[in-house]
């Protein structure tokens, strides 16, 4: 099987990196044979899409019948409109129900759900008053910018503290500062002595949330690693991979 069509398919599936996307688009301009292949790929999609639409229209028509067998009845313009609207309403409800309730969640939706439920707040240690408790308190109150400021100050004093870096990564994720979050989680993943290291899992979560071209594949690879190496987040990772 040619790798050319595979490459074109990867582009339109959104799994190429930024650099690969640029190369792909440059090649369309500089290589006429390649541009022809891309055009062929898209033209095939046009024809198949028309065929899919024709099938749906046929099913739609079968929901009611056009034409009046009682030839003596006066012809009423648009007499098909009411049953057609009813049929369209049924089709619309079915498709919307599928889209909203039955369609498997996207990776971003899976990430959103996890962040909303599992990273909603952090437990605090009763009676303890220190910088970490203060930072957690700010996080739990939804004051992410203030929490980030506190954590940054803490990291100046103790730059290698894993718990601080973990929380800083999560706050960056909440603030949608994905590059910063990835930086923190990557550092965390590289800490060999850190028991039950969640670094790779959180990196995967960030890629799923960011969902730029290439991110989905990076997230999948990390999740597979988490499962294989029995790292923190393994159960969730397996559940997500099953729905991938």
């Amino acid at each position: 099987m040619t790798t050319q069509l595979n490459y074109i398919d990867d582009y339109f599936s959104g799994i190429l990196s930024k650099e690969e996307i640029q190369l792909f688009e440059e090649r369309i301009k500089s290589d006429p044979a390649f541009a022809d292949d891309v055009a062929f790929y898209l033209s095939s999609m046009v024809v198949s899409r028309e065929d899919a639409d024709q099938e749906k229209k046929q099913r739609f028509k079968e929901l009611y019948s056009i034409g009046d067998e009682q030839a003596t009845a006066p012809v009423v313009k648009f007499r098909w409109l009411r049953p057609a609207m009813a049929a369209a309403a049924i089709l619309l409800v079915v498709v919307l129900a599928w889209t909203l309730f039955l369609k498997p969640p996207s990776v971003t939706q899976m990430a959103d759900r996890y962040i909303k439920t599992e990273l909603k707040s952090f437990g605090s240690t009763m009676g303890q008053v220190n910088d970490m408790e203060e930072a957690k308190g700010l996080y739990n109150s939804g004051k992410y910018a203030e929490a980030m400021a506190k954590l940054t100050e803490m990291l100046k004093g103790k730059p290698g503290d894993a718990e601080t870096i973990k929380l800083a990564g999560i706050v960056s994720l909440q603030l949608e500062n994905y590059d910063q979050a990835l930086g923190y989680f990557k550092w965390l993943a590289e800490q060999k002595g850190y028991f039950d290291n969640p670094g790779e899992f959180y990196q995967a979560l960030t890629f799923m949330k960011r969902n730029l071209p290439g991110d989905k594949l990076k997230a999948k690879t990390l999740l597979q690693d988490v499962v294989e190496k029995n790292l923190s987040g393994k159960e969730e990772a397996q559940t997500w991979l099953n729905q991938w």
């Binding site: 024809v47 899409r49 639409d53």
Partner: protein, 152 residues
């Protein structure tokens, strides 16, 4: 009546409008700024206009690229205009005949693919082992179609 199109054609335009709305909704383009009725009605009017243009000029070219506007939007402006010109020149009746020659399995798979189903969803719908198997089969169908189209 306004656009002087037959009842059968206006029914087709109505079906196209509903299908186009479903696609827009799935792609997240319907933002709820107008009511559903107004939005669908506007699409329906545009479909009637497309039909009049298609009937009067026999020009399918704009129609073809509008069918895959979601894919073309991914490209930069220069690449897009190069591809649009090539897509407009394609021999669609020949492509359609060659797709029939691929057989029912390939046809079904390509229809699901063109309708924005993911490989995982196609695997479930057509009872394939996995998304990877679907992707391999789908690309094999496209490769076969390419050979038929270029040599046929």
């Amino acid at each position: 009546m306004k656009y002087h199109i037959k009842e059968e054609e206006s029914f087709d335009a109505y079906c196209d409008a509903i299908l186009a709305f479903i696609r827009e909704f799935q792609n997240g383009r319907f933002e709820g700024r107008s009511s559903l009725k107004t939005y669908i009605y506007k699409i329906f009017l545009n479909k009637c206009v497309d039909l009049v243009r298609k009937n009067s000029t026999n020009k399918r070219s704009v129609f073809q690229t509008s069918m895959i506007s979601d894919r073309l939007e991914q490209l930069s402006d220069n690449s897009r205009s190069i591809l649009q010109q090539l897509i407009e020149k394609a021999d669609y009746s020949k492509l359609r005949q060659q797709i029939i020659l691929l057989g029912e399995n390939c046809q079904k798979m390509l229809m699901y693919w063109a309708d924005n189903f993911s490989d995982r969803e196609i695997a479930v719908a057509l009872e394939y082992k996995s998304a990877d198997v679907v992707k391999t089969s789908r690309l094999r169908c496209l490769e076969k179609l390419k050979q038929l189209y270029k040599t046929g």
